[in-house]
């Protein structure tokens, strides 16, 4: 504890490099907080406001009404079970995979990383389609079970368990992404020290490695938690047939049930969802309070644990089997559907065609335009978030007081709301930011920039903040005492250490913005179609064959750029870190 206080004290002393900020600290703090409030919280408050007013003025009727209904509490209960269950699953899978990739000597790690990402990139309606076919009466699981002794039944995916499984599988890459760099940075000598002091490998893991990796695990866990909370596609697809509702689907049902009460009731439920999201964020703070600042080490991707050849083989087989089932199977299901000429025709050579690709990429001009739009949107959003998010993470790290904490809470909310609700908030806010004044933002592509940035900024903040937590304040001190200031300090010392973590956040923002669906489907306008809008359109018109063709090309494109990205990363490691 004293060590920690000392560390904080040193951190505070380290502030003079930021003296300009300190002099006008109160002023800037106020401005910053106000900006965050206006951009992130006010749009949501405008929706929540609806839950307090009716024709006759202020009222609590909507709350009374909604809170008295049994359906509400059944929904909240389902939501809690599903979100906690899937977050736990995502945490276990994410931590296990990142630990193995960071420490254990298995081959083909780089390729493995790409496949770990797949479940997250493949649109969730494709994932669910693939899994339901996998588990259907005529699917491979049923065939396998029928050969086994005993009357084994195929597990029913249209259940709470099924929703938990698919949410967990779709979001464990988030935990992986936030954790793997943290694992790599844990100094090897700490583990060695633990071993020489007589701790077993298991104890070392429990007492040294996991606590030190906590910042990453907690950040990844929080993002997975929020993603599970706001996910609409999976619970809608799997929950509808068995009448299992969670808050995100229940809110959607309220919104589309028109009438003057629709938004008010949806607002009450959104407020409840917001409370759950806040509870998750607070829990994560509580966990991080106990984490310790480590000695700064640059990331070390050399394996630390070597297995006997036999065990290693077995582990590799197990890992790849898991990856093939969870990542490659949905991709193949998607590819297969995109090649077929019509639903339900047998999958034979004569029924395979590129007709769907032809339609999507040659006959229709929209998908190509949408792709360019989404790419631009994703790149710009990523750039803005990269800058603002890292800046905020730095402030949050440097002065962890009430103002930055409050700001962080504000920034988290837009990500936790279901996309449809968040889009409505954007309309309420930006059509007439000041009543009677329409600045012409709504209805143009700018509304999408604002929406994406406010929605995804938290991903960058978490990524960058986790990276900062890995840096011992002494590094900055050392830089200062050796005369490195400003840009030099950043470019020579801090950035190389921070970059992997910061880039993880940026990558997430980019991927999320590229494939975003629900927000854009309410906010787009002619000429600013996005990939999500086009896919949504195909789906609604009953053309899954087209949307899968589009998605397949998209996923393959992402895989390709992923491979490129990793090569660049390797290059960076070599050039920059060696040069230092």
């Amino acid at each position: 504890m004293t060590l920690k206080q000392q560390a904080i004290g040193e951190r505070k002393k380290g502030m003079p490099s930021f003296s300009l900020f300190l002099q006008n600290k109160k002023f800037y703090k106020g401005i910053g907080l106000l900006a965050v409030f206006l951009l992130f919280l006010l749009p949501v408050l405008r929706l929540v406001w609806l839950s307090f007013v009716n024709d006759s003025g202020l009222t609590l009727d909507y709350y009374r009404q909604v809170l008295q209904e049994t359906a509400t509490w059944v929904t909240v209960q389902n939501t809690l079970i599903i979100v906690l269950g899937s977050t736990l699953l995502a945490l276990v899978l994410g931590v296990v995979f990142s630990w193995i990739v960071a420490y254990v000597d298995v081959s083909g790690k780089r390729t493995m990383q790409l496949f770990i990402f797949l479940p997250f990139i493949i649109p969730s309606y494709i994932t669910t389609l693939a899994w339901t076919q996998f588990f259907s009466g005529s699917g491979p699981v049923a065939a396998l079970l029928s050969r086994l002794p005993g009357n084994l039944e195929v597990p029913n995916l249209y259940s709470i368990g099924g929703i938990i499984l698919l949410l967990g599988l779709s979001h464990y890459p988030l935990v992986y992404l936030f954790t793997v760099n943290v694992f790599r940075k844990i100094p090897r000598d700490l583990e060695e020290a633990a071993a020489t002091s007589g701790l077993s490998k298991k104890q070392t893991l429990q007492k040294v490695v996991l606590p030190l990796a906590l910042p990453g695990i907690a950040s990844g866990g929080l993002i997975a938690f929020l993603s599970n909370l706001d996910n609409f596609g999976i619970p809608a697809f799997l929950g509808t047939p068995s009448n299992i509702r969670v808050l995100s689907t229940y809110i959607y049902e309220q919104v589309v049930g028109f009438g003057p009460e629709a938004f008010s009731r949806a607002a009450v439920l959104s407020a409840m969802l917001g409370v759950i999201a806040l509870a998750g964020t607070l829990l994560q703070w509580f966990l991080l309070r106990r984490s310790r600042v480590t000695e700064t080490a640059r990331s070390d991707s050399q394996p630390r644990i070597f297995l006997e050849p036999m065990k290693r083989r077995l582990l590799e087989i197990a890992l790849w089997t898991f990856l093939l089932v969870t990542s490659v199977m949905p991709l193949i299901a998607m590819g297969a559907l995109s090649l077929i000429s019509a639903y339900g025709v047998p999958f034979t050579l004569e029924n395979l065609s590129l007709k769907n690709y032809e339609q999507v990429f040659l006959n229709d001009s929209k998908p190509a335009a949408a792709f360019m739009n989404s790419l631009k949107l994703a790149l710009v959003t990523m750039a803005i978030c990269l800058f603002l998010g890292t800046l905020f993470a730095y402030l949050r790290f440097k002065s962890p007081d009430w103002s930055t904490k409050t700001a962080e809470l504000f920034i988290t909310i837009p990500y936790a709301l279901p996309g449809t609700v968040f889009a409505l908030c954007m309309i309420f806010m930006w059509m007439e930011p000041v009543p009677g004044w329409n600045p012409g933002i709504y209805g143009t592509v700018f509304i999408l920039f604002i929406a994406y940035t406010t929605r995804f900024l938290v991903l960058q903040v978490r990524g960058s903040y986790t990276a900062f937590l890995q840096i011992d304040p002494s590094m900055e001190e050392a830089a200062r005492t050796s005369g490195a200031k400003g840009w030099a300090k950043w470019s020579k010392i801090l950035l190389p250490l921070l970059l992997p973590g910061i880039l993880s956040g940026a990558l997430l923002v980019f991927l999320m913005a590229l494939t975003e669906l629900t927000v854009s489907s309410l906010l787009w306008s002619s000429g600013s179609e996005t990939i999500g809008v086009v896919i949504f359109g195909y789906e609604q018109a009953g053309y899954s064959t087209y949307s899968t063709a589009f998605s397949t090309v998209l996923v393959l494109g992402i895989l390709l750029s992923g491979a490129l990205f990793m090569m660049l990363g390797k290059l960076w490691d070599r050039k920059v870190l060696k040069a230092k």
Partner: protein, 344 residues
Amino acid sequence: MNKLFTGASVLAMTAMLAACSGEEAANNAEAESADSGSAVSGSLDFYTSQPDADAQALVDAFTEKNPDVEVSIFRSGTEEVVSKIQAEDQAGDIQADVLLVADSVTFENFKKEELLLPYKSPEAEAIDESFIDPDGAYTGTKVMATGLVVNTNEVKDLPDSWTVLTEEASKGKAVMPSPLYSGAAAYNLGVITKQEDMGWEFYENMRTNDITITQGNGAVLEGVAMGEQHYGMIVDYLVAQAKSDGSPVELVYPKEGVPVITEPVGILANTDNEKAAQAFVDFVLSEEGQELASEQGYTPIREGIEAPEGLKSLDEMNVLEADSVELLETREDDKAKFGEIFGQ
């Protein structure tokens, strides 16, 4: 909330000035076009739930005739379009000029909220009166029946009645869209439960028969075509399209009759361009517009224009009727009751 913004009065002033000059410009433009005596001009915001390509083709055909009008399309599911308009209304200004979405009940709701501008198109004379709002708030543009889809690989004897969905033989083998997600399905729910010989009992029996509920019609088609289920309740044109693509499906119009949605078109009350909006409505209902609908694979609503291959035309169908006003009144209760029946 408004109080928050009193400090921003300067901004508001500027905005008002800007708004005034904008209005002036619009007036000038209108005057000009009236002077020249040519067709309508200006811009139109068209909100619709038609598939993207269909909406684009309609707009293209319209602008070919009215080259001075610039139409922007917003297309999404009916539910999203309706939410967007409600949110825009809530925020102060509806952007849409013309609206074309699923069913008359949706329009009845907007009419009740006084968001629609009455317009009786001269073209509507060739359309059955039951599809036109007596006050001219909206007019049907197509006939979309909900019938049965059957997987022909699995089923050899085609059924002729809705009762196939409640028979023991189809237990666990049937599928329908959820009225909680799809406006069209909510319309069907309202109409079918108001028929004497079907009623709520029909839905209760389907529940007992373990029918699967999906979000929308597209998923129903997918499930049946892929053989996951054998029968489905579905909007007709999807089946005709899939069949012509080669899917093993057949469309059946049950003998009891079919609920029909009409994808009405209407003009929003606060439109900035009434003339162009009216011209657009005229075009949709005109012979040319209806021919286009037929080419796109929908049953046209205008008398004397043929239905596309695989679909019945209006006079061949036995339509299950229900009053739109009454349907609107009971919709929330209907949905709630549906939720109860299918609840666990």
